[in-house]
Amino acid sequence: MILATLVPLQVVSFGLVALGAPLVVLTRDPLRQSLVNGVYGVSLVCLFVVLAAPDPALSMIVVSGIAYPLVILAAIARSRRHERRRVQEDKP
């Protein structure tokens, strides 16, 4: 059952999510991408709250805001280091 008063809110939050997802994909720089992804996560949190699912919303705040960017940044730092080392080995 959908409460009629919630429909505009649902439309707005779905719109934000639909807008945010391509923005994350279209951001090329990984560092900026992880920031944009955090903002996108907040829009997902709003959507969960509007759809009456506060429990996933609560965990989504921290997962999208802290855990996910941290994991991405660590992965990037590692792979960049490997790349640079390979370039240096190829030089001489």
Binding site: D55, A57, R78
Partner: protein
């Protein structure tokens, strides 16, 4: 293979997948149209039976407590994997040497207030998880996030005592094992594994739900420590190699 050939191979697959996807979307029930009996039954049954006002947690820690145990051990296995791959004492010390304290006092003050607020909200989410929205996982992730803030507003030396693995590893075992102990206690008393052992208590209070409270705390401890370990390992992977490399070049 040329670009044209690759596109030629891709197109039929993409068309097939696209049409299947469109078919699936078209056949979905309308938005907000929930048909399954499970949710309706739980909504009617959990509060009278278990006296927990958050039906989601009543379901997670009682009706399908075995599934939640599986989920907890998925997280546990993931943390063990991360630790085996990334744990490195030398790197931890390297990270300590290469991080400086954030210079802006205003940012640090706001950060410290946020750490306190975060920890308080996390404890509230964990303790009242089965009464109001929240629960062990949500509170645990937030708790670890608040401790990570300590690194952001302070430095690695401030943060390091809170990620001491000699303390964390046994506590993680306590959380993960505690869940099973509660389940085995039911088995010893003659009931099925993870049967709710205690009385249901008064609806809407911390004493409601019986075993749900214990299981909630066990998973809260397990998730909190798992997340602290996860953040610490990834943070040091991120900090140490970059800094060391910059210093060398």
């Amino acid at each position: 293979m040329s670009r044209g050939a690759r596109i030629a191979i891709l197109m039929p697959g993409l068309a097939g997948l696209g049409s299947l996807f469109a078919w699936a979307i078209a056949g979905m029930p309308a938005f907000g149209d929930y048909r399954g009996p499970y949710g309706f039954v739980l909504n009617r049954v959990v509060v009278p039976l278990r006296h927990t006002t958050n039906v989601v947690m009543g379901t997670n820690f009682d009706v399908r407590a075995v599934d939640t145990m599986g989920e907890e051990f998925i997280l546990y296995a993931a943390i063990v994997g991360v630790t085996l791959l990334l744990r490195d004492d030398a790197r931890s010390q390297q990270a300590e040497r290469h991080t400086k304290r954030f210079p802006n006092d205003a940012v640090r003050l706001v950060g410290v207030v946020m750490i306190g607020g975060g920890l308080l909200v996390a404890l509230w989410l964990q303790a009242f998880g089965y009464i109001t929205p929240g629960g062990g996982f949500q509170g645990g992730v937030l708790f670890a996030g608040a401790i990570l803030l300590l690194y952001l507003v302070g430095n690695h030396r401030d943060y390091r005592p809170f990620r001491n693995e000699r303390v964390l590893d046994p506590v993680e075992g306590l959380g993960a094992g505690g869940y099973i102990v509660v389940g085995l206690a039911a088995l010893v008393s003659g009931a099925a594994f993870l049967t709710n052992l205690f009385g249901n208590g008064k609806t809407g209070t911390l004493l409601s739900g019986g075993s749900i409270a214990l299981l909630n705390w066990a998973s809260a401890i397990a998730v909190t420590v798992a997340m602290i370990i996860l953040f610490a390992e990834f943070l040091e992977t991120y900090t140490a190699p970059l800094e060391a490399e910059d210093a060398g070049s």
